[in-house]
Symmetry: C2
Subunit: 582 residues, 2 copies
């Protein structure tokens, strides 16, 4: 029973569910449902799928997440970045509009669900940490630019292709002659209206005396108004006969039962994109969930989130959907509208199911340009180039990772971009640890504390070389230490003892152990003692398993001060130019 | 002039060259030349090339290394492991025995030379550090097994193919019917004789009264004796007519001028293997050079070594050779024979040039089985499985890297094996740093030193939580710290202040900075102070560039003891089960 409750959090909150929570959840669900109808259609368009796929992907997945997820406010469904990744991945294996394309979308959702579920059961959520904050920020910004650009064709009423900024721009320019003026008018008007709703409407309504809550709801309904007005315009004036592309027939049906394609060939082609979509979707979802949970002093369990998102994606795979995750905008709306439990998600699903059966004929005349406008307005808020400035000031290697991610995402596509960002982050980290900072330390007078002789006024002894290596010792820098001590002891002939202060050494791997043995042998040959100090417990445990301590031509001191008290005598005080930072 | 001298070390030692050095170098060269003739033929055979390629690859490269290299004893030429890698790489683009195969070998040497030279000029020698000692040891052992197995076909007198242990074994078994008994006798006799020369001859000669030096030379001449005896047997008894495969016609010529194939297609196919050969060759060569230099208190410059090896490989590419590097056995022989300067290499090259012009007809009847025997005897000494036991005792993650390298090298080939070894090493390192060791610390009584409360008897204060994080804070573990402090402060309500002791924090990257900001904000909300101590200079410099220190809800203390003196009062002494290791 405990195991069951661990994997099905719904059993926990379900027991305390009461009428007041029901009422709050229902209100939130109504607001979210109204917002989700155009959004779902739009993200299906972005993923290159028929509009109903967007609705289907919002029904079963949201229910499954409500059962298995740990966030109380997260709303799961199609989101912009994942839809873009989906279009990019499936575009490589099938033609848009074919049956194969829709099946590939199911397969992608299936693989992504299986992968997330697997990670969750194995409790491997930490893998998401390999996406550093700067890489995520750079990736989201570049994706926003790519998505906005990809929607320009719908605003212009032309057809265009491409998964990179250059391809898209080229394709847009070559087709510019086919521009549809009426579509352009609808698209620009809708975009302008939606931006105004975001920025200008709320203050206006507040000034007109509306309550903040009501003003907020009216603002959320903006996209619905744009949908209604542009749909009516097309219907009344028969604009679809004049080149305005419309959503057209959407089947009136509950989500169908579908089978993802599971041929080995398809799986092989989609495995890597599925892993990427899973991890990016997971990171986005967990960040949103954690932000919202923190506001109410609740907490989420990342490993259980993997299970919830995995279940949601498997649900999407078998009910005509495509990859889903916890979306930022829909979750914030859900939270702000007062949702108290995941049951709000279930009611939203019911609302969308009703829409799927009853309302789809109403969107027949909805122009695609209006959907494109809602997407553009949504993603423009994702674009935030300030991360470039922030990382530039703080750390050049973080800056390099962001820049590589943004440039390569735009130039070569989302998968290459994010993969390069991760590799650059890891590579730069390894590079930095391969040439660690090493400080020669001395005693801060009147204390038992040792600091860098070049930064602090400290006492030293010319016969005692005390080095603090600011890095774990492992294969990447094993040789470095050997070279360093060789250089130091061959240029300075006064040294009688070397103490390696290991307060910053968190690991000594086998390669580094061999290097330490080599250093010990060499120093012994030339008559210099070799000592360690402040070796941490876990590192010491490890060293005891080797012969190193038996052969050591010196001692291991608990504290650096013990080494100083035993081996040193203060003869000299350093006079650094750069002094003490405190 | 100084720049020239930096890049051409020969200008340095050349100025001091005298008659005594000349005499020593010449003696060494004669011994090495005699040893190299059969060895060069054998390694060409291993690489799948005509025998003369082995001789050519030993002439110009050795001269170029003598000019640009920094080791005084290193002998450059074909070596076992690199020849195996060459065979494996070229086998994928051309059929053995075709002109395309030889051209691909030149291209591989060219690419490898260009890559090494580039790394050297950019001073990127540290890249070789990514091959950890255990991975190298595992790779060398597995290569030894592969090489020995690959030579069995010559001993058995059958034809067999394959680049992995399974392929080779399968191919040997299917062709077992074609076994040539006379070849087998020659092969087994030669192998047995050579093993006996290694192990049994030297003690025997010493007992018979020979001087150690002379006994040593006689031992080195063992392979030559095997060559002479088996060649004569074939010639006298006409064994080549009875199924014994012989070396046959070898052109009598100095190394020809050749052009490596430089089609884009070929370069693309060989680029990755060339990089791998370069790095492995470089690591092998540098280890040998460093070992020998240390014995004479000389030193080598790894970046200049890259230039020397790069030049040697470019030389091989234009003179009918194949990839070369500094070989272990030939270098040791050169060193033991008394070589004092790289000029010994130049004389060896001259000796081999004379052999190439004059002696090649003498090896016409040399059985391939004899060459195979010399290879087998040489590589068996490389096989050392003790690394498995050593790493198992010391560190399971090093063990995992060795095991993966050995198993995958044998099962999937050399390139996959070594690449996996490197990836496993890096992956495990990152995994370990993603879940760092965190110790709650207290004051060691009577000192100013702080240690883990679970390992040492220390003083603590229930209102003051002092945590020492044993890892740099970066994107891989940024979230970990946030979760940890959240858990600690939400389960323990007595805490009034948290001090993060940063003595082991060697870096705080942008992701970790954001995590620290989040921790600070959260602790401030619940009224807990957040302090840092023992922040290192470089890390502090970085933090000062952000707003973190302005917003910090606490102080930065120079030493942990200052934090204790300001914030703590000793109320409690820990009583750990596991006590003090000193």
């Amino acid at each position: 029973m405990n195991a069951l409750r661990r994997y099905v959090p719904a059993l926990e909150w379900g027991r305390e569910y009461d009428r007041s929570a029901f009422s709050d959840d229902l209100t939130a669900a109504v607001i979210v449902t109204i917002m989700l109808i155009p959004q779902s259609l739009a993200y299906a368009l972005l993923a290159g799928l028929p509009p109903e796929a967007g609705i289907y992907a919002s029904i079963v997945p949201i229910v499954l997440y409500a059962m298995f997820g740990t966030s109380r406010a997260l709303a799961v469904g199609p989101v912009a970045v994942v839809s873009l990744l989906t279009a990019s991945a499936i575009g490589q294996v099938a033609e848009q509009g074919t049956a194969g394309y829709a099946v590939a979308a199911l397969t992608l959702a299936f693989l992504s669900g299986a992968f997330l579920l697997g990670l969750g059961l194995l409790r491997l959520g930490f893998l998401a940490n390999f996406l550093s904050h700067p890489v995520i920020a750079g990736f989201i910004t570049a994706s926003g630019i790519l998505i906005a650009t990809s929607q320009l064709k719908h605003i212009l009423g032309i057809s265009a292709e491409g998964h990179t900024l250059i391809e898209m721009a080229g394709s847009l320019l070559t087709h510019l002659g086919q521009i549809s003026v009426i579509t352009l008018i609808i698209g620009v008007a809708a975009t302008g209206f939606l931006f105004w709703v975001r920025k200008g409407l709320k203050p206006l309504l507040r000034n007109a005396g509306l309550s903040p809550k009501l003003a907020d709801v009216a603002t959320k309904a903006g996209p619905v108004a744009a949908v209604v007005v542009t749909t009516l315009s097309v219907w009344i004036f028969g604009l679809d006969g004049q080149g305005v592309k419309i959503v057209g027939e959407v089947p009136q049906s509950l989500p169908p039962f579908t089978m993802p394609g599971l041929s080995l060939d398809l799986i092989r082609q989609l495995a890597v994109p599925a892993i990427m979509i899973s991890i990016i979707g997971f990171v986005e979802s967990v960040s949103v969930a954690q932000t919202l949970a923190a506001k109410k002093r609740q907490s989420i369990d990342p490993d259980q989130e993997l299970i919830g998102l995995g279940a949601a994606n498997l649900g999407a795979a078998f009910t005509g959907g495509f990859p889903v995750t916890g979306g930022f905008s829909r979750s914030v709306v859900n939270f702000d509208a007062g949702a108290r439990t995941p049951a709000a998600g279930v009611y939203t699903a019911a609302g969308l199911a009703i829409a799927a059966i009853g309302l789809t004929p109403l969107v027949y005349y909805l122009p695609k340009a209006t959907l494109a406008a809602t997407i553009i307005v949504a993603v423009v808020s994702l674009i935030d180039l300030s991360i470039l400035k922030k990382t530039w000031t703080y750390s050049r290697s973080d800056f390099a990772a962001v820049l590589a991610t943004i440039v390569l995402t735009l130039a070569l596509g989302v998968e290459t971009g994010v993969a390069t960002g991760v590799l650059v982050s890891i590579g730069l980290h390894l590079y930095k640890t391969s040439r660690p900072h090493v400080a020669e330390v001395g005693l801060v007078p009147g204390t038992q504390h040792f600091r860098n002789i070049n930064r602090h006024r400290v006492e030293t002894d010319p016969e005692l070389l005390m080095l603090r290596v600011d890095e774990s010792l492992y294969f990447v820098n094993a040789r470095f230490l050997q070279d360093l001590i060789q250089t130091r002891t061959s240029t300075d002939c006064k040294t009688r003892n070397v103490v390696l202060m290991c307060s910053a050494v968190n690991e000594i791997d086998f390669s580094a152990l061999e290097s330490l043995e080599a250093i010990n042998t060499r120093l012994k040959e030339i008559g210099i003692g070799f000592h360690l100090s402040e070796v941490k417990g876990p590192v010491m445990d490890r060293l005891r398993k080797s012969h190193f301590l038996d052969e050591l031509n010196g001692k291991v001191f608990l504290a650096q001060y013990d080494a100083w008290a035993t081996l040193g005598k203060s003869l000299h005080t350093s006079d650094p130019e750069k002094y003490d930072y405190l």
